[in-house]
Amino acid sequence: MLLVALPLLFILLQAIFPHLSAGSLDGAFSALPALLSDPELPALLGGTLSVGLSVALFSALLGVPLGILRGLFTLPLARTWDLLMLVPFFTPPYIAALSWTLALQHNGYLMQLGGPDLNDLLFSRTGIALVMTLNIFPVVYFAVSRSLLASGQRLATVARVHGATPLRAFRHVTLPMLLPALAAGVLLAFTLAIEEYGVPAALGSRAGVVMLTTGIEQRLADWPIDLPGSSLLSVLLVAVALAAFALQRKLVGNKEVTSITGKPADVSSCGLGVWRGPALVLFTLVALLVVALPAGSMLLSALLSTLSGGLQWSNLTLRHFAALFALHGDALGALSTSLGLALASSLIAGLLGFLAAWLVVMQRIRGAVWIDGLSLLPASLPGIVVGVGLILLWNQPFWPVTPYNSWGILLLSYCCLLLPWPVRYVGSALRQLGGNLEPAARVHGASVWLALRHVVLPLVFPSLLASMLMVFAIASRELVTSLLLAPAGTQTVSVFIWRQFEQGSVGQGMAMATVAIVSGLGLMLSALALMQRRAAAESRRF
């Protein structure tokens, strides 16, 4: 847990001691009154809360029905839909925001194709919340559907056998079992929304919406730099997230739900009947909105020779893609760096997250709440704050060895930022395990580790794998800490794209984004296929 706690400690110290980075402890707390009297504070806090709450609400509205459909019923093409819902995680939020801008703004692609002008909707508070929701709601979808898939329908069937109506069985059996996962998903959506930087930065200024993250960024990017002010705002942001976390624990924290008992589970789900058609239409529409439109806009921008040339056949070109491979290997280097780092961080974060969740849920060690809370913290921290915290921590002259100024610092920051994913996902899966499985293994002579590996791990493996895939997806395109921490001479995909945007070649940036998303997805799919083949081979042996 030191991984998470130390940079945070240094941010807190920085917030209290404004001259910390110069190695001095003078003027403790002197930055606090300045912040409290800042006239911008209410707007920052209000913007953050309202966008965060709207995104949580929209995500629940969109994610819960889809998750239930996926989890409870035999949905045609189920795996395809899962895969499509993963695409937003591969799409960097700043790319998505820019894609939506290019598609929807006045004279954007939609208008050029004869569609309506949605400029005013896009550049509004609602627009920002909607764009963020489309990126974030899959966390709710996956939390809900995975939880339902893991618990199966056995208990609900029991209720039905005893005479409950389908609705009653759902309300009194399925729903309560779903609640921990649902609450965790919504909380994650909220924290992801309040820590998101790319979308408010891309849309916010034109919509007149400010958020804490953009405020922090501004204090860091504005000359002279206000490290203490941004640290204080970060502490405030963390406080908001912790309040949400406390609320979630209060609402569902103490409910014990046991659904995996070690007895063979019935994994069959019911058919959709006449609702098959409408469900498919719903999924298709959502996939269009979440994947096809932004990806289409992105691909178009990558293929258009000039933006001002508009949608003309003569304006299509592959030169942006060609340029990627001509740039002294910069683009390919960035791609392999990002994929390598993403792979490594998904393995490390997966392992640590699994252990943390297991300690919290199964072992109930002392201070479990602290571990749980600490592991959630980074999700509420804007990347830029983690980045600065890591610099403050690791760039002190007293360390004999430091990962700073090597790729190790990027790995460290990704693991720190993304640890909440495995903890949340595995935690909610562990909460559904019966409390007697592990003791049973222990009684039969298995050591703690043996029981962990052969009993607990296989049972929560689908959740762990899902969270690791998400870590992979997010790490492969993480922007803000990469911008700050990438050692001189090293580029990641997101940094490369950002530089392209800064220099005015939107087309080349979008081409790189396309290549990165396609290769990331490809890698993930082949990993999944490989595991499935092995799992199938394994089950044939029995």
Binding site: L98, N107, S305, H328, L343, L484, E502, Q503
Partner: protein, 324 residues
């Protein structure tokens, strides 16, 4: 057990994948730079070829570069800093962070673009960027953007994020006084949108969502024009401001001699040609470029004095635009 073999293979694979990046060369020169990455790259390559010293580049916006520099105070990493804002150099000099150096190659750099501690790498200017296909009349003056033809069709970079944009506000205020603020008020009434840093103000103009940028950095636009975008950079005859890009050596540098050689290289004819190829004005007056140079422009005074003044201009501008 079998299930985890792919993961193990993956881990080994990942380590092999990334181990190549691990080696950081202690003898290399570290350059932190704002601005065009292609320029940083070509300067580094040219210098490496000439001296054999490897250059590690960290390139970001001025704000991010400064944030990193400030956070690294306890254990500085950078040898050379190239910023996009003259102010930052002044500030660092006042803090006593800079190593004084006068390059022999700086002889042809005008006096206003060099001091004992820092010297311009190149210079950009601010202008109006206008989409020639937007169906609006070509603007000639800043005030033309307040006409009905440009109602709701103008963007401007956020002066709190773009130092160059703030320089323009100060320059206009210095030369026009209160009439500058009347101009800003009319621009606001005409629906001018404030849009992030430079590139974010430009992109909507490229696509035609907006017709013009008030106060765009020129070199980014020249590069887009070269790519075939139908936009035009217009420098109003009434005057505009330039943004020299200071380069400096940090006192904490362990490679002072290499750093000095790097500054010499950037100011050499070859280095200045690379600057011109990035569509900036070369700092040396004896190196040409395919774009208007300082002598072709009417320059307003940008530096008005202390940073308090900058702060008050920024505040007044923010207050003007936050009123709805």
């Amino acid at each position: 057990m079998k299930l985890f073999n792919p993961i193990k293979t993956g881990a080994v694979f990942a380590m092999l994948f990334t181990s190549g990046m691990m080696i950081t060369d202690a003898s290399a020169l570290t350059v932190y730079t704002a601005g065009p990455g292609s320029l940083a790259k070509s300067l580094a390559t040219g210098y490496e070829k000439q001296t054999g010293v490897k250059v590690n580049i960290f390139q970001a916006t001025t704000g991010k570069v400064m944030a990193r520099l400030e956070a690294e105070q306890a254990n500085p990493q950078a040898d050379v800093l190239i910023s996009a804002s003259w102010d930052t150099a002044e500030e660092l000099q006042q803090r006593g962070w800079l190593l004084p150096y006068q390059s022999n190659n700086a002889a042809k750099v005008p006096a206003e673009f060099k001091t004992d501690h820092y010297v311009a790498q190149g210079i950009s200017a601010l202008g109006i960027v206008w989409n020639t296909k937007s169906g609006t009349p070509e603007p000639k003056e800043w005030a033309d953007l307040t006409t009905d033809a440009f109602k709701d069709r103008v963007t401007t970079p956020d002066p709190s994020l773009s130092g160059a944009s703030l320089d323009l506000l100060i320059g206009l205020q210095n030369s026009m006084g209160d009439r500058a603020w009347q101009l800003f008020a009319r621009l606001k009434d005409n629906g001018m949108a404030i849009a992030g840093p430079n590139a974010q103000a430009l992109t909507p103009v490229l696509q035609g969502a907006k017709a013009a940028v008030f106060g765009a950095v020129d070199y980014v636009t020249y590069a887009s024009i070269q790519q075939g975008e139908s936009v035009k950079v217009i420098f109003p005859a009434s005057g505009t401001v330039v943004a020299p890009r200071p380069m400096m050596i940090l006192k904490s540098s362990q490679h002072a001699a290499d750093a000095q050689a790097f500054i010499d290289y950037v100011l050499s004819e070859e280095g200045q040609k690379a600057v011109a190829d990035a569509w900036l004005m070369p700092a040396r007056t004896d190196v040409g470029a395919q774009r208007p140079l300082i002598s072709d422009l009417n320059i307003l005074p940008a530096q008005a004095g202390g940073s308090a003044d900058r702060g008050s201009v920024l505040q007044r501008f923010a207050a003007l635009f936050s009123k709805s």
